[in-house]
C-alpha cells in the first residue's frame, strides 16, 4: 500500500516540536527581507514518527534480509558502530575547535590513517574524501599534480579497463584526462597487448579495480603495473573490492601507487540508503606531499615514559592538491571504521576476506550447473553469472532479479559489468551463514526452472512485494520531482 505524502497529511495548526520562549529582548526583524510563506507541512510528532516508520518498512535492508549486491559489499553493519559514533565527545565536537580541545578526535584519525596505510601497504593516507568516487577524483588529481611537479606536462591520457565501474571514466573526464578503454582478455584480465599499445610518454596512468568487477584477481597484475611504471605512468587502485584482500595481499606491495578505500563497503560503515560513504585515499611515499589538505600528524612528540601523549594537529602536505571538501572528512564514519578494525585485529581482518571469498566460491559451486559463468575460475569475493538461457529466450537477467524479491532476497547487481550479457553480479559477503547461502542457491535454481516452465511468472514478478514493477518511462517523461502541496498552491 502506498503511503500518503506529508503534504497530504498536513493539517493547519498542528505542531510537532516546541522551542523554549526566547530569553532575550526581541530585535527588529528585517521587514524587506522576510519571506511570506514557508511551504512546510504541519504535523504532530506521532504523525511524523508513524509516517517514517511505515516508510522504512517498505525497504529491503541488510537488517531484514540477504543483500548479495555485487560490488557493493552489503555486509552486516555492527550495532556497536552506531553507539560509538554517537558518543557525546564525538557527536558534539565542532570541526573548527582548537586542536587542544579535540585531541581525541585527532588521535582517532591519526590511528585510522596508520591502519589504512598498514592494510593497503602505503606510506600516507587522507581521510578527507567523502565517498569512493570522491576518492577517485582525489587520486587522479594527485597523479596529475605529481606529473606536473616533474615538468612532465604531456601526460593527458588514462587507461581504464572495459570492466570498470562508471565512476572511473567519469572521474577521469572531470579531471580533464582523455579516457582510453582497455579490453579484457578471455580470462577476464587486462589484455596485455592492448595495454602495450598505449604505454608511451603521454600516459598519466591506469585505473585498475583488482579484484576486478568480474570478481577475478587479475593474473597479470604485476606485469600490468610494471608496463605502466616503465612508461612513466602511475597505477590508481579502485579499492571498491578490498573486502577480498584484507590480510591477503597489500595493493601497495604489488605496484599500486594510489588506492581509495570505501569505508562503507569494506569497513562496515552503513550504506544509509545511498550514503554517506567515506573514501580515504592512500598513496606511496613519492605521492605523500600531494595529499589533500589537511592530514592529521603529530606536531609535538609525546613522552611514553612520563605518560605524556603526543600532540596531534591538522597539517597541510607540502605540495597539496588542496581541499576536496570542507573540514576534515566524514568523521562519524571514521569512528565506525575504527571500531570495526579495532574489533578484528590483523587475524580477524584476514578471516573477513577469507570467509568473503569462501562464501562467493561456495555459491559459485552451487550455481555453476544452472547458470552460465562466462569467466569460470576461482573467484574472489564475488562472481558474475548470466541470467539467460537459450531455451528461455524471453527471460532476461532483470526477470530473475525481480523474481528473487518474492523470496525476500535482494537481487544481485544486474547489467553490470557491461562486458557480460545479462549479468548477475553476486557478492554474498562474509557475514552470511551457510544456511542463507543454501536457501539463496536453492531459490535461484528454482527460478531457473521456472524460467523454462513458466516464464510469465518471472516476467510479471515481483508478486509478493508491496509494489510491483514501476513505469520508469512515465517517471522520466512527466518528470514529477516535487510534491506540490495544497498549502503551497496559489
Amino acid at each position: 500500500m502506498p503511503e500518503h505524502l506529508m503534504c497530504e497529511l498536513s493539517v493547519p495548526g498542528r505542531v510537532g516540536f516546541q522551542y523554549p520562549e526566547s530569553d532575550v529582548p526581541a530585535a527588529q526583524l528585517p521587514e524587506d527581507m522576510l519571506r511570506d510563506d514557508l511551504p512546510l507541512p504541519e504535523l504532530a510528532e506521532i504523525d511524523v514518527v508513524r509516517y517514517f516508520t511505515r516508510l522504512s518498512q517498505l525497504n529491503h535492508s541488510v537488517d531484514t534480509g540477504f543483500y548479495p549486491l555485487g560490488s557493493c559489499t552489503m555486509k552486516y553493519n555492527p550495532k556497536i558502530n552506531e553507539e560509538t559514533a554517537r558518543i557525546q565527545g564525538f557527536a558534539n565536537l565542532h570541526p573548527l575547535q582548537p586542536i587542544e580541545t579535540s585531541q581525541g578526535a585527532l588521535a582517532l584519525m591519526y590511528h585510522l590513517q596508520m591502519w589504512l596505510n598498514e592494510i593497503g601497504g602505503f606510506a600516507g593516507t587522507s581521510l578527507q574524501p567523502a565517498a569512493g568516487a570522491h576518492g577517485e577524483l582525489t587520486g587522479v588529481l594527485i597523479i596529475r599534480a605529481y606529473h606536473r611537479s616533474r615538468g612532465d606536462t604531456k601526460r593527458n591520457k588514462i587507461l581504464i579497463p572495459d570492466s570498470a565501474h562508471g565512476t572511473n571514466p567519469a572521474t577521469s573526464a572531470m579531471s580533464g584526462l582523455q579516457v582510453i578503454e582497455l579490453r579484457s582478455d578471455d580470462r577476464g584480465n587486462v589484455d596485455l597487448d592492448a595495454l602495450r599499445e598505449h604505454c608511451d610518454d603521454t600516459l598519466a596512468g591506469l585505473m585498475l579495480t583488482n579484484p576486478n568487477t568480474l570478481g577475478l584477481f587479475d593474473e597479470n597484475v604485476e606485469e600490468v603495473n610494471r608496463l605502466v611504471h616503465e612508461a612513466g605512468g602511475l597505477i590508481y587502485g579502485d579499492g571498491a573490492n578490498m573486502n577480498a584482500l584484507l590480510g591477503i595481499i597489500r595493493p601497495g606491495d604489488i605496484g599500486f601507487d594510489v588506492l581509495h578505500y570505501n569505508l562503507h563497503k569494506t569497513f562496515s560503515t552503513p550504506h544509509g540508503g545511498g550514503g554517506p560513504g567515506s573514501g580515504p585515499v592512500s598513496v606511496t611515499e613519492q605521492l605523500v606531499d600531494f595529499l589533500p589538505d589537511p592530514v592529521v600528524d603529530i606536531i609535538e612528540p609525546g613522552d611514553e615514559e612520563s605518560g605524556v601523549p603526543p600532540l596531534y594537529g591538522l597539517v597541510a602536505p607540502n605540495k597539496t592538491i588542496g581541499r576536496v571538501k570542507a573540514f576534515q572528512g566524514h568523521f562519524g564514519m571514521f569512528v565506525r571504521a575504527y571500531t570495526y578494525i579495532r574489533m578484528h585485529g590483523a587475524e580477524g581482518l584476514r578471516k573477513v576476506s577469507e570467509n568473503a571469498v569462501l562464501n562467493a566460491n561456495y555459491l559459485l559451486a552451487k550455481l555453476r550447473d544452472t547458470y552460465h559463468i562466462p569467466y569460470d575460475r576461482v573467484c574472489m569475493h564475488e562472481f558474475v553469472a548470466e541470467g539467460r538461457w537459450a531455451e528461455a529466450p524471453d527471460i532476461h537477467a532483470l526477470d530473475v532479479a525481480k523474481r528473487l524479491m518474492d523470496f525476500n532476497f535482494h537481487p544481485p547487481t544486474n547489467y553490470f559489468p557491461l562486458i557480460v550479457h545479462e549479468s548477475l553480479m553476486i557478492e554474498p559477503t562474509e557475514t552470511e551463514s551457510k544456511e542463507t547461502l543454501d536457501a539463496f542457491a536453492k531459490t535461484l535454481i528454482q527460478i531457473a526452472e521456472e524460467a523454462h516452465s513458466d516464464p510469465e511468472l518471472l516476467k510479471s514478478a515481483p508478486h509478493t512485494t508491496p509494489f510491483g514493477r514501476l513505469d520508469e518511462v512515465k517517471a522520466a517523461k512527466e518528470l514529477v520531482l516535487c510534491c506540490v502541496p495544497e498549502y503551497a498552491r496559489g
Binding site: 503511503e3 505524502l5 510537532g16 532575550v24 528585517p30 527581507m33 514557508l38 511524523v48 514518527v49 516508510l55 517498505l58 525497504n59 537488517d63 543483500y67 549486491l69 556497536i80 560509538t84 558534539n92 565536537l93 565542532h94 582548537p98 581525541g104 569512493g132 588529481l141 577521469s172 579531471s175 597489500r250 604489488i254 544509509g272 550514503g275 588542496g322 581541499r323 571538501k325 570542507a326 573540514f327 576534515q328 568523521f331 562519524g332 575504527y338 585485529g345 581482518l349 578471516k351 577469507e354 569462501l358 559451486a365 524479491m405 535482494h410 537481487p411 553490470f416 551457510k434 512485494t465 509494489f467 510491483g468 514501476l470 513505469d471 512515465k474 522520466a476 520531482l481 516535487c482 510534491c483
Partner: protein, 449 residues
C-alpha cells in the same frame, strides 16, 4: 568476528567447492606477497572497544561542555529525538541506493519528500538527492555552469564572502580544467557587497557565486545582482544556510539559477565535520544539466503511486566518461535526517528556531558592540552570525577565553589576511542569555587581563 560460520560449516563448504583449505582459494595471487603480517593492535571485544572509544572521546571538550559561539559553516543546533530515532531504523540505514524500486519505496519516497521540501525552502523548482557537503555542492554548481555553456564561458566569479573552504574546494576541483576563478583574489575588497561584483561580469562569465548569509553572517538582497548576471547571459548560484530560510526570503525570489547549501543545520550533529549534507536545487530548465540522483513520481503495474530514480541517463553509470560529474554515493541518510527534521518542525517550528537564532545573535551583537573597544565590522543586516573588530589580536582573546571554557567564536585572520583582530561569532537557539552575558563579560575582562 561477525561471520556466523562454524568449523563444520567451513569444511562442508570447502568440500562443495572441491578444495582442502581456505588458503587454496588464493593460490593465483602472487606468492611472495600473500598473507602479509599486518601490524595492527590486537582485537578487542565490544565491551573493550566501547571503553576505549569512550576514553578517546573523553580527550575532547565539546560544544556541550564548553560554552561555544563557534559557527563558520557548522552550527550547534538541537536535533529533536525523533530525528535519530528514525535514522536508527535498520531498514533505512542498512539499505543501499534504491536501484530496485519495488523494495525501496521507503528510501525513494523519503527522497521525494526531501526534494519537495528543499525546493520549497529555497524557492527553486527542482532539487537533487544531495551532494557531499556545502563545499562540493558549490564545486558541482561551477561544473554545471561550465558544461551548460559548453566551455565557452569559463570565468567564474567567487565572492570573497563565500566560505573559504568552499572556495578552496572549487579551486581543487577546477585545477586541471579551463575554468578561471576570480573575485576572491583581490579584484574586490573582502567586504564587497553584490553591487561590487557586477563590474567583474563579462561575456566570458559563466557563473557568479555568492552566499546567503555570507561567511560573515551578512544578508543581502541579490535581486539586482541576478539581473546583471542574467543580462550578461551568465548564471547566479547562491550558497545558503537553510535555517536562515525559515525567516528570510527564499533565494529563488532573487532570481537564483542554482541554490546550494550546507544542510548540517537541519538536525545533523557536528561530528567534527561530517558527514554533512550538500544541498543542490535549480530551475526546471536545468534539470538535465544537474548532477546527482533524482526521485520521480510514477505508478507501478498495480496502479499504485510510487517513486523511482529517474533521468539516470545523465549519470556516470550510463554515460561514463561523458557524464559531467562522477557522483554516485551521496548523503542519503543525512538527507533523511533533514527531511525528518523539517517534517517535525514544520512551518511553525522552522520559523521559530530561525527567529530564536536571529534574536539571540542580535542581542549578543548589541551587547558586544556596547563594550569599549569592540565594534561590529559591518552595519549590513545579518542573521545569526557577525564579525566583530576587537581591540587586539582575536586569536589572543580567543585563547584566553578558551582557558575559561568559552569558545568565543572563530578568529578569521588565518583565512583573511589583515583580519587578525576579527572574531566571527555565531549564536544559535542552544545559547542562553546567560551564555551570551558570560561571553560579553569575558570579552570585556580580557582587555584587563
Amino acid at each position: 568476528m561477525f561471520t556466523p560460520h562454524t568449523k563444520a560449516d567451513q569444511d562442508a563448504m570447502l568440500t562443495t567447492i572441491g578444495i582442502d583449505r581456505i588458503e587454496d582459494l588464493f593460490q593465483y595471487l602472487p606468492a611472495e606477497y600473500r598473507f602479509p603480517d599486518l601490524n595492527l593492535p590486537p582485537a578487542l571485544t565490544e565491551i573493550e572497544v566501547l571503553t576505549e572509544l569512550q576514553d578517546i572521546a573523553w580527550a575532547n571538550d565539546t560544544t556541550r561542555e564548553l560554552v561555544s559561539f563557534l559557527g563558520a559553516g557548522a552550527y550547534n543546533h538541537y536535533s529533536p529525538a525523533v530525528v535519530d530515532a528514525i535514522l536508527r531504523r535498520g531498514e533505512f540505514y542498512t539499505a543501499y541506493t534504491p536501484y530496485q524500486p519495488e523494495i525501496s519505496q521507503g528510501t525513494l519516497q523519503a527522497i521525494f519528500e526531501y526534494q519537495s521540501m528543499i525546493a520549497g525552502l529555497t524557492g527553486m523548482d527542482v532539487c537533487n538527492a544531495s551532494h557531499y557537503d556545502g563545499a562540493t555542492a558549490v564545486a558541482e554548481a561551477v561544473n554545471m555552469a561550465y558544461h551548460n555553456f559548453r566551455g565557452k564561458r569559463p570565468k567564474v566569479i567567487l565572492s570573497p564572502g563565500v566560505h573559504p573552504h568552499y572556495r578552496e574546494t572549487v579551486r581543487t576541483y577546477t585545477r586541471d580544467s579551463e575554468v578561471t576563478l576570480v573575485g576572491d583574489q583581490g579584484e574586490v575588497e573582502v567586504d564587497a557587497g553584490p553591487e561590487e561584483l557586477i563590474p567583474l561580469i563579462d561575456d566570458t562569465t559563466g557563473l557568479v557565486v555568492v552566499a546567503y548569509p555570507d561567511f560573515f553572517g551578512r544578508i543581502f538582497d541579490y535581486s539586482e545582482l541576478a539581473e546583471a548576471v542574467h543580462e550578461a547571459g551568465a548564471l547566479l548560484s547562491i550558497s545558503v544556510n537553510p535555517i536562515a530560510l525559515g525567516l528570510l526570503k527564499a533565494p529563488g525570489e532573487f532570481g537564483a539559477d542554482i541554490v546550494t547549501g550546507e544542510g548540517q543545520s537541519l538536525g545533523i550533529p557536528l561530528s567534527y565535520g561530517g558527514p554533512y549534507l550538500g544541498l543542490f536545487a535549480t530551475r526546471q530548465k536545468y534539470v538535465r544539466k544537474m548532477a546527482g540522483r533524482l526521485a520521480g513520481e510514477t505508478v507501478d503495474n498495480r496502479g499504485q503511486r510510487a517513486y523511482v530514480l529517474t533521468l539516470t541517463a545523465r549519470e556516470q553509470h550510463i554515460r561514463r566518461d561523458r557524464a559531467t560529474s562522477n557522483i554516485c554515493t551521496n548523503q542519503g541518510l543525512l538527507a533523511l535526517a533533514a527531511t525528518v527534521y523539517l517534517s517535525l518542525l514544520g512551518r511553525h517550528g522552522l520559523r521559530q528556531v530561525s527567529e530564536l537564532c536571529y534574536h539571540k545573535a542580535h542581542y549578543a551583537a548589541d551587547q558586544i558592540s556596547g563594550i569599549k573597544g569592540y565594534e561590529l565590522w559591518s552595519d549590513q543586516t545579518f542573521f545569526n552570525e557577525f564579525l566583530v573588530r576587537c581591540p587586539r589580536s582575536a586569536q589572543e582573546i580567543y585563547d584566553h577565553l578558551l582557558e575559561h571554557n568559552l569558545i568565543a567564536g572563530y578568529p578569521v585572520g588565518k583565512d583573511y589576511p589583515g583580519f587578525e583582530n576579527h572574531l566571527l561569532i555565531a549564536v544559535t537557539e542552544m545559547n542562553t542569555k546567560e551564555d551570551i552575558d558570560w561571553l560579553v563579560a569575558g570579552l570585556e575582562e580580557v582587555l584587563n587581563a
